[in-house]
Symmetry: C2
Subunit: 313 residues, 2 copies
Amino acid sequence: MYYIGIDLGGTNIAAGIVDENGKIIKKDSVPTKHERGAEAVCLDMAKLAEKLIADSGIDRAQFKAIGVGIPGLANFETGFVYKCANLYWENVEMSKIMHTVTDLPIYLENDATVAGLAESVAGISKGYDNSIFLTLGTGVGGGIVIGGKIYTGNNHIRSEIGHMTFDVHGEECPCGNRGCWERYASATALINMGKKAVEEDPESLILKKAGSVDNITARDVIDSAREGDKTACKVYDQYIYYLAMGIVSLIHLFDPEIIAIGGGVSGAGEFLLEPLRKEVYKHVFCADIGYAKIELATLGNDAGIIGAAMLGK
Amino acid sequence: MYYIGIDLGGTNIAAGIVDENGKIIKKDSVPTKHERGAEAVCLDMAKLAEKLIADSGIDRAQFKAIGVGIPGLANFETGFVYKCANLYWENVEMSKIMHTVTDLPIYLENDATVAGLAESVAGISKGYDNSIFLTLGTGVGGGIVIGGKIYTGNNHIRSEIGHMTFDVHGEECPCGNRGCWERYASATALINMGKKAVEEDPESLILKKAGSVDNITARDVIDSAREGDKTACKVYDQYIYYLAMGIVSLIHLFDPEIIAIGGGVSGAGEFLLEPLRKEVYKHVFCADIGYAKIELATLGNDAGIIGAAMLGK
């Protein structure tokens, strides 16, 4: 059997035919152009899926379902999307609209959750029953897999890992709460920490790399730390500590076999993993008994398509 | 079939015969006297179990297993206890020692986890697939039930809910980390907050009730707040906020159907639940979609026996 996976992003709708093992057979994409409104986007997703099937030369009966990873909150049983902030969607009958074009069953899930499923089916977390996927980007997204399946909870909240309270007296988060972990562990957090640091030390390599404070990227901070810039090292160490302590919390709560790290910051590779593991294992309860492996996610951008496709399996 | 449940405490070993529905048929107990060493205590547990069976008049073949809730950390597959701090146990072959007295299969689990299982089998969380039990006492213990079963993780860490990082720059915790949730949400935390408050306001009713700063109990703070003492109300509101924000984190992560609250502080009843629910629902993501019920645990001290027994089911 084959499955269609769709990764609905702010810029592009990426879709692919995926086999039962999570291997992408064929990919295609169209621009999202969300300014056209939700209906046009939903129709385009369904058309792209049908186009992929038609172009593939594979018997249509071999296709089991369409899965969609959405950057938002939905009722995953009914296919009703409550909100996708990036797309300006509110209360969209996604599956219903798509079904005017395609008769295949449609599944949807949060995009970070979907990426976690992908890693557990075909990526670094393959072969582990319990895994957590973290994506360190604008925010911190997460996917929790328990017993080989997405852990879903009951009210469609779906592993909002970035919104654990991490610093109860800390920074305000756009979600309305204070001190959410993503204010400390996202790429955005690293950037903000870098900006603050160069205000105190304008000589820092961070600023030389970025050109201006406004242009500072996570990569500027990471590369400057890698080159030994003192201020950058201090910022990066602090960031690693924040990231580690949130992961320690997740280990204390879920005790998974593996934690897979993706998203922009994971581009730092071993320069991230090595100090991160050290810090986590220093602080985790009973490190002598056992603890989760910490590894880089391996599927990159394909995780969205693969995971979405696997929703229908 | 029947099951023996044993609640291994610092003062008493409480045991009971429990039926398949989690109903206690008969109870018995002996003093723990841990100063005798671990072997004597393990033998007493096994003997107490066998005595209960012999005294019950029920055919021995009707007993399926013995379960033990331990206040510590163990390898739950092998019955090897790594550590029970309260009992001064380290590296105890609990099941092996008990098997010199009884041939019934022996299961063990962390005591808070066991209490969570009990609530989900025969208490307030009965009928819910996904539930979390919190016990607010000396620390904050927890039991996570997913799909009707204890969520176990992989390395015997077992839902150390009290040790989520909650205030990353905050108070040191005896576990070695900083700002663990139990430093803010346990009965101990409420007591410490009360002590601090009466130093600033020695006129507070809290001090009148307690007699001296050293004697302040969680109940003194709660009762003083109930009677409208300003300082006590301030302390209690702050405590409720801390408790609520940790629960919000748990909802964001697990999205359970119900959170059951037990332990000393839960004695405050509706005076705890009402403001707690208000605070949680104010801060939880998407309160308009749905969220966990928050209720009092109903089994009290029996939860230990019932949950331990249900380990063998």
